[in-house]
Symmetry: C2
Subunit: 439 residues, 2 copies
């Protein structure tokens, strides 16, 4: 087989997935004499780090998502395709979309990860994860409906269960959602109900390890725990979940009753390793070569959350935006090297630091040897997130929403949308309170 990139026609580069990695790859390929096709199953790029704010009614989906077409509008060599990949025909160099094949010369798989339940897929029905916009609006719906049900529930025990919220997983997502949920209950909803006091809601954060945010410095883990507890979150360390069901969540023999379980404990990589029949690690990430190509397939690359790449310490690089972005940019250099017949450079990650927010004026940040917590970290976090949000309009909308929430404690997007809430009043949730004495 001849190397297609030695042919005179422009090579076609397909990028699957328009997350941080895919989009960064597409942008880096903009000046190359190639035909670039970005394929995603959604028409928008999602700023995932702020998804927890959609779930807790702080931001609208449109505030953290931009149409891929708009982002790549000015890039003449690039077209965008809304489609779902169903497989890769490695030998014939084409991706499958349903029964339709689309050929490529180079393929970049940046297909991300989904939340995962450690082999207990049956827990998904009870514990809502947050990776997609639909997850976030479903969770928002679930949280808001729990308060609504509690308001009209006559049974004290059931009311307690409805006002118990359990978050599983003490990584950045779990910490951020616990903090945001505490602020929602203690501030935004505080005055809106008549029979319940939302401030009485119990918010429990379960973490299997000995400290929160294990990728951060120990002192920052401790600062985050203290901040959460000041917000009224009950943090339980060394608490590995053994079951999730309609009653609540179990940690060994302890059952925490709850109607709203939130899953932030684990992720699993996309199907990329199956499509390629490539070697993967325990969470399904493809083990790529140092130049990010797949062993035996120098024209296929895997990046971002779905790639297993070792960092300087010998551990796999974490599934964060900065890693995916740098990998996307690296791909362009490798493809260029391939086309010119040069040896491809190896990928090296430049650590740009990491941050997590807990709430109003509460965050932690680790930038090289600098460690921040409290208000300075929060300010830094806010600026960084606004800066990285794609599209000027979104930045403006987010700033205004945040400013508004900061001043008033209100939450603007407290909408319960989706299927009609016919089942708000379940058999176990009755309206006895309203059954009047006049009957």
């Amino acid at each position: 087989m001849t190397q297609t990139w030695h042919q005179p026609r422009r090579p076609r580069i397909i990028v699957v997935g328009a997350g941080f990695g895919g989009l960064s790859a597409a942008k880096a390929l903009s000046r190359m004499d190639a035909e670039v096709i970005v394929i995603d199953r959604n028409n928008y790029h999602l700023f995932q780090p702020l998804l927890y704010q959609v779930a807790t009614a702080g931001l609208s989906p449109a505030d953290i998502a931009s149409p891929i077409r708009s982002i790549l509008r000015g890039q003449a060599n690039t077209s965008v395709m809304l489609a779902k990949i169903t497989g890769v025909e490695v030998e014939r160099r084409r991706v499958r979309i349903g029964n339709d094949p689309v050929t490529y010369d180079f393929l970049v798989l940046a297909t991300g990860a989904r939340h995962a339940y450690f082999g207990h897929d049956e827990w998904e029905r009870h514990a809502q994860g947050i990776k997609k916009i639909e997850d976030a609006t479903a969770l928002r719906r679930k949280i808001l409906i729990a308060f609504e049900k509690a308001e009209i529930e006559a049974d004290v025990e059931e009311r307690r269960r409805l006002l118990n919220f359990v978050i599983v997983g003490g990584g950045p997502t779990g910490v951020e959602i616990a903090g945001a949920l505490a602020e929602l209950a203690r501030k935004a909803l505080a005055m809106d109900f008549r029979t319940i006091d939302p401030r009485q809601a119990r918010i429990v954060l379960l973490h299997s390890g000995a400290r929160l945010l294990p990728t951060f410095d120990e002192r920052l883990s401790e600062a985050a725990r203290r901040s959460l507890e000041m917000l009224g979150v009950e943090v339980r360390l060394n608490a590995a979940v053994t079951n999730c069901d309609e009653l609540g969540v179990s940690v060994g023999t302890l059952l925490i009753e709850s109607r709203t379980l939130i899953w932030a404990a684990g992720v699993r990589a996309s199907q990329a390793s199956k499509w390629l029949a490539a070697e993967s690690d325990g969470v399904g990430r493809v083990k790529v070569l140092p130049d990010l190509s797949v062993p035996g397939h120098p024209q296929i690359f895997v990046i971002g959350d779905t790639a297993h790449v070792l960092g300087p310490g010998g551990d796999p690089l974490p599934g964060i935006a900065a890693v995916a972005k740098q990998q996307g940019a690296h791909i362009a250099r490798v493809i260029e090297a391939r086309l010119e017949g040069r040896a491809a450079p190896a990928f090296t990650y430049r650590d740009v630091g990491s941050m997590a927010t807990i709430g109003r004026k509460r965050a932690i940040a680790e930038l090289g040897r600098l460690r921040l917590s409290g208000a300075p970290a929060w300010l830094l976090w806010s600026i960084a997130h606004i800066y990285f949000l794609i599209g000027f309009r979104n930045r403006l909308a987010v700033v205004l929403n945040w400013a508004w929430s900061y001043v008033t404690f209100h939450r603007g997007t407290r909408l319960i949308t989706g299927p009609e809430p016919e089942n708000v009043l379940q058999p176990n949730c009755n309206t006895r309170r309203f059954r009047s004495e006049t009957a």
Copy 2:
């Protein structure tokens, strides 16, 4: 039976529906020594006049909806219940929610209307109406996916069908959506595609009558038609739809092929008349007495889109926000009169004028004898709608979105959300364009 309102305890007033009518009734009842319960199946009040902007990707759902609890937070005598009414037990004076009854002394039904298909319910599958947030996001999804499909469709005929959009109904909703859709295709999307030119989209507005916006002055109808045509909308008058199916829409023997039909032609009132076994008109509106109570039931009131009330000219009052709001306020006066044993005043509608917008700097307005069209009407329309939007935050968000769109022609909320678009690529929509010559 004793009149419950002669008992010493506070009367309980149930308001069903938190649209313009219900909310206005609840607010007017705020200072009364009564227990007010507002029941709605959604947790938000929807500013329906701007729903077409959600459908055409101009605004986010949260921009035009406010939590009912927040709106009524400061009203000590009022509680809010998220629930769906399933019936009214008129004799026992209670509303049913599932199997649970809730008693009342006074009942206000402000349950609105849904879009209706003149007895052709089978058309609903093909022609999307817009009355709820979910309708609007479903329509947004449908419109945006049509462009996405057209972009990857190889068949010229199918591409043409995908870029044909037909709006049925030349009232305010139909006119507004036709104008907004034309601006979306001609401006916001213009530069974002590679194989299609969205400006080539054909937008057809079908109206069964001899002129658009028949409730307005004839000159304004004509101005609206001209404005739409300048935007590239094909207006067809005296075009009564005889069929809607997967091929498109039929007007007699003429078939206009289209994959996106939008229904703005008719509404049908809620179930209120069935619940009450009360006399209703042809579209299901309850025929109420001049004081807005239901004949034979002085403690039950029906207002807004679900009430049939004659105006000064002898025609029923139209289903608009101003009518519903004034009726809601009137209810409080009637209930007060009932409690004091006085005769209840009759409702009279004060005409505050009406407006419709077509697009950027294009609108019409009729205020008493004043008739405006073009930019002045548009300015007035913008100010009025922002003023009436409930909640300061929403007003601010809408102003900024509009200002942003006005300056840039961008649309910020072009998100295709909902079920995964696995079926974007249908059997009849193939990707031959991308089947490479290298295969």
